[in-house]
């Protein structure tokens, strides 16, 4: 068994990690100096403070911390330098060769004591009952400087009676304890890039203030917590710490929300989480996080968690709580019965992009070995399947090409169909940092997303295209590159297939692909397109980041290929600062795809018809594997309505809420005879289920997640599974009852099997992950430490393959009846279907889904801000409150889908990407009008949902009586 690394927590800001005071500098030049008689060699540009810390001497400090640029305000870090007058601050003074520094002397001690005395005279002396007690840098410094008395007394003018700001649900601001060190202000600027904080007032009056002297919740603050993390005192403090006290140990694990995959230290008291602190050594996030990962973990212990297995024979029956044994036996018997009656291919499974790699692997293994078919799919189907297809066809591997850190080397950043500040916040912070250093920005999005204009960041080009015209824009950009001679001819000649390139070149050069010709279709002026193309092709290192606004279209796969074409045509691939980077939605989208969760692929993206691969797995698993692809999620629904697909094992996925055209999905599920749902909550899909198996949260199991950079990181168990089993154990139990033994004592053994059978994973193991922290695949004999940047010398497929991407208008056309286009997205505080975030205080930022509509469209329809409106498409109708907003262009409306009762997916249609059946969420033709009551669907939903909750309530009651 593997031990979780545990360490005792000390130091408020860094959760047990050493604080070097100022950031690391990299330089080819080294400098040697003497500190306290000791020789120290560091990179040129390093501060004296950091050099001392690297040499093992910790100079007292308050305003400096190594995640922020030094500020030099507290004067506690003074040192003496031989041959220099005065006492320079070591945090702001860079090292020089031959310098002789003294960090301690009687004079320095007196000066420091004087500084501390001033601070303490205006600081409450309630250390024993303070939330930061035992973890406070002010306390530490009082100790280090030997402060024994405060001559000024405590009754002079002070801030001890200032009011606390409790508005943020997760942290408190207590100005009485503030020492005005400015760390929080710098963290908000440098680490987060939001610029929500300032120091207002001067001299004695000065205090930290969010926005215009507003409470935190009314300001621009996005609650990332970076300021809380760097605050050296209890001024900014997590409410959970105030409530529970300081942690006694911590465990490194990975965030279970988005595809950034931030590394965290879960700070614990026994089995209880006290707080989550982003891990400074985490390669994806380097010590930063967003509101979801840092604060919104309360759902894991929410009272709505279902902890007992339940069964029922019809979905109109009340649920019955049963033992694990009975539930699993029932599920197994049902699956056998259905296969006997309807044939081997009549059942299947769905793998979650939220569960671990090991769990994903086991579910597809169960389907292929026990069910004996390939009817396995993952919810990545509905988000990034076009990425897998498009990048495999062009570059040869179904994954992004870079590390997140690579953006530090980008000169031009193109963001297409993605809204990183909301959906991938920690990566957005990195990106904003690079942009504020001068990198250029091209945004291609129908919406005026925050990145287009925010403090210290402005897009050089915003191509505000009409939804559904991505491929047209990409062809127009390519046209400019080809016709204006901006091609990277040498790169193309060396690295790409010539015939395909020539064909592509001829195609994009056609007059119909020119920006002028496309203007009518895309709604973007040719001049803007030309400017953006020139900038992308000639502005230096250019990187493309894209999201679901590219994939979730009828031409999603085509657009992904179009992006890869652009990168190849300009030679922007295979080194730092460039590349093609999908921003993945859920935490383990990349991983679930890698694990062979698609019906046509075995682990490692190898087609089931490939007999060599099939034989490899057949030998390892001892069964015969079908050579034909299985059903994809939308095909499963169609087959269910046809009566040929009757049983489903669905792990950790809420297909009823997240898939398009809910009414179609619900009808399909209602037609099936046995649905087994494994989840932590009674989700929307579970309302159609016959067997409910309680799932486990990421805090309750061991495993790995793979983020959008192909980075495999450990998930570590910090508490026992609340319902008794981790999800991987449940799959093993189910397989066994269906007559197949899976022998794994620990998830590490599952990963060992994956590594053995998958060439890109050959070198991955828990031992290596513990040693390196994280690994980017491919990791094998050729790349033992993993592969940060892909396609360096040659493409994975050999030569890069240009593919012709012809624009084809979607069938979802605006008409007189449906004159507006609805597009969907997500916001920062909520996550996907919201099952987790809705059960946290994050609802304070977003308590319902709203329909955003342009003032012009609103006025024409008599829609007022905050009023109810109905949204009608050919698939259905729902009612939401309106938000009149200029972020939308006229003709386009927008909503999120975080709440089930909003029914955003009642209106989305089952139109889908031609190659992968990824739904066209981003384009639905609708009409909007003001109304006074919920839609028919919502009334029906409310009734159904109420009945289902009563049926659940009965299960719980019967238990408590029994």
């Amino acid at each position: 068994m593997l031990e979780s690394p545990r360490n005792i927590n000390s130091g408020k800001t860094n959760s047990g990690e050493k604080d070097f005071g100022t950031p690391r500098r990299t330089s080819g030049q080294e400098v040697t100096l003497e500190i306290d008689g000791m020789q120290v060699t560091v990179a040129a540009g390093t501060s004296i403070m950091r050099a001392a810390a690297e040499g093992g001497v910790n100079v007292p400090k308050l305003c400096a911390t190594d995640s922020l640029e030094p500020f030099g305000s507290c004067r506690l870090c003074l040192v003496e330098i031989e041959g220099r007058k005065g006492y320079p601050a070591s945090c702001t003074t860079p090292v020089e060769a031959g310098m002789k520094v003294r960090t301690q002397s009687p004079k320095l001690q007196t000066l420091r004591k004087g500084v501390m005395e001033l601070y303490i005279s205006d600081h409450p002396l309630d250390c024993l009952t303070c939330a930061a007690n035992g973890n406070c840098e002010l306390q530490d410094m009082a100790g280090v400087t030997g402060l024994r008395e405060v001559r000024y007394g405590y009754d002079g003018e002070n801030h001890l009676v200032s009011n606390k700001d409790e508005s943020n649900p997760y942290f408190t601001y207590d100005p009485a304890k503030c020492i005005v060190c400015n760390r929080c202000v710098r963290a908000c600027e440098e680490t987060q890039g939001t610029y929500a904080l300032t120091i207002s007032g001067r001299g004695f009056e000065s205090r930290v203030s969010p926005g215009q002297d507003q409470p935190f919740m009314d300001s621009e603050c996005v609650s990332c917590g970076a300021c809380v993390q760097v605050c050296p005192t209890a001024t900014l403090q997590e409410k959970t710490v105030i409530e529970k006290g300081q942690a006694e140990h911590s465990v490194v694990t990975t965030c279970a929300y988005c595809g950034v995959g931030c590394s965290f230290k879960a700070e614990m008291k026994g089995n209880e989480v006290v707080r989550m602190v982003p891990n400074k050594d985490g390669h994806a996030n380097e010590g930063h996080s967003c509101v979801k990962g840092r604060f919104a973990w309360g759902y894991a212990t929410h009272q709505d968690r279902i902890l007992k297995p339940m069964i029922r024979s019809k979905i109109t029956d009340p649920w019955r709580e049963v033992s694990w044994d009975e539930a699993l036996n029932y599920a197994a018997a049902e699956f056998k019965r259905i296969q006997k009656k309807y044939g081997r291919d009549s059942i299947g499974g769905i793998v979650s992009s939220r569960c671990t790699n090991e769990e994903a692997y086991l579910v597809q293994k169960l389907v292929r070995t026990v069910f004996g078919n390939n009817n396995v799919d993952t919810c990545a189907r509905v988000c990034h399947s076009p990425t897998g297809y498009g990048l495999k066809q062009t570059l040869g591997e179904s994954a992004g090409t870079q590390t997140f850190k690579s953006v530090e080397h980008s000169d031009v950043i193109m963001v297409m169909g993605a809204n990183p500040t909301d959906a991938h916040p920690v990566f957005a912070s990195r990106m904003k940092k690079r942009l504020s250093e001068g990198a250029k920005l091209i945004v291609i999005d129908p919406r005026h997303i925050d990145l287009v204009r925010s403090p210290h960041v402005a897009a050089d080009f915003h191509l505000q295209l009409k939804p559904g015209t991505n491929v047209a824009i990409l062809s127009a950009l390519a046209h400019v590159i080809v016709s204006e001679g901006l091609l990277a001819t040498e790169f193309i000649a060396q690295r790409c297939e010539d015939k395909a390139f020539q064909q592509w070149k001829d195609f994009v050069a056609l007059p119909e692909n020119s920006p002028e010709a496309m203007q009518e279709i895309t709604g973007v002026s040719a001049e803007l397109v030309r400017g953006a193309a020139r900038l992308y092709a000639t502005g230096g290192n250019a990187a493309i980041y894209y999201g679901l606004g590219v994939t979730e279209h009828a031409q999603g796969s085509t657009a992904v290929m179009g992006i890869a074409n652009l990168a190849m045509a300009t030679g922007n691939i295979g080194r730092e600062g460039v590349g093609v980077n999908p921003l993945r939605g859920q935490n383990n989208v990349q991983g679930s795809c890698d694990m062979g969760s698609f019906p046509h692929e075995l682990p490692g993206y190898r087609h089931v018809s490939d007999s060599t691969t099939r034989h490899l797995f057949e030998q390892a698993w001892g069964v015969e594997i079908q050579p034909e692809p299985g059903l994809r999620i939308p095909n499963m629904f169609d087959a269910a309505l046809d009566g040929s697909f009757m049983g489903l094992y669905c792990q950790g996925e809420d297909i009823v809420q997240s898939d398009p055209n809910i009414q179609h999905v619900a009808a399909a599920l209602a037609a099936m005879e046995c649905i087994v749902v494994q989840d932590i909550f009674m989700n929307e899909t579970a309302m159609y289920a016959h067997v409910f198996l309680p799932g486990s949260s990421f805090l309750e199991k061991d495993g790995t997640f793979t983020n959008a950079e192909r980075r495999i990181s450990r998930v570590r168990k910090v508490m026992p599974p609340k319902a008794g089993y981790a999800d991987w154990e449940v799959t093993i139990e189910l397989a066994q009852r269906l007559g197949y033994e899976m022998h794994y004592a620990h998830p590490s053994e599952i990963l060992d099997e994956i590594a053995r059978l998958t060439p890109t994973f050959h070198g991955v193991s828990y031992e290596k992950l513990d040693r390196l922290g994280s690994i980017q695949w491919p990791c094998n004999e050729a790349a033992p430490l993993g592969t940060p940047i892909m396609h360096v010398d040659h493409f994975v497929r050999g030569k890069g393959h240009f593919i012709i991407t012809k624009y084809v208008a979607t069938d979802e056309k605006v008409t007189r009846k449906f004159p507006l286009i609805l597009t969907t997205g997500r916001i920062l505080s909520q996550y996907n279907v919201g099952a987790q975030t809705r059960r946290t205080s994050n609802v304070q930022w977003h308590e319902q889904d709203l329909l955003e509509i342009h003032p012009h469209d609103a006025e024409e329809r008599g829609v007022v801000d905050g009023g109810w409106v109905s949204i009608h498409s050919r698939a259905g109708e729902t009612v939401l409150r309106a938000k009149v907003s200029e972020r939308m262009q006229p003709g386009v409306v927008y909503t999120t889908f975080h709440f089930p009762e909003s029914g955003a997916n009642v209106i989305t249609t089952e139109n889908s990407d031609w190659a992968t059946n990824c739904p066209e969420y981003k384009v639905t033709a609708v009409q909007v009008k003001p109304v006074s009551e919920p839609s028919e669907w919502q009334k029906k939903y409310t009734r159904f949902s109420k009945v289902q909750h009563e049926l659940l309530g009965k299960a719980r009651q019967s238990k408590s009586i029994a």
């Binding site: 390939n374 034909e628 095909n635 169609d638 012709i804 190659a915």
Partner: protein
């Protein structure tokens, strides 16, 4: 399964490959895509439809691809 939907999906595949200048490549592309990504029951339904309805509502290039590579598209089991 809903035949209209299958026809619609097949036509979308046709739209993509039709843009290729090399017609042989396009036909092979269409057939290959159906073979690699469509579950056998979807394929056989489409094949039956082409036979019974003479490919009504299907793009000509899709019908040609299906007829040319029919044997490849018949389920292996």
């Amino acid at each position: 399964m809903d035949m209209q939907n299958l026809v619609h999906m097949a036509n979308k595949i046709g739209d993509f490959f039709e843009a290729m200048p090399d017609r042989e490549e396009a036909l092979l592309g269409i057939a290959g895509h159906l073979h690699n990504f469509w579950e056998p029951r979807m394929r056989s339904q489409l094949l039956d439809y082409v036979d019974a309805e003479n490919g009504k509502d299907l793009k000509p290039i899709v019908v040609t691809a299906i007829r040319t590579y029919r044997s490849k598209l018949v389920s292996q089991h």
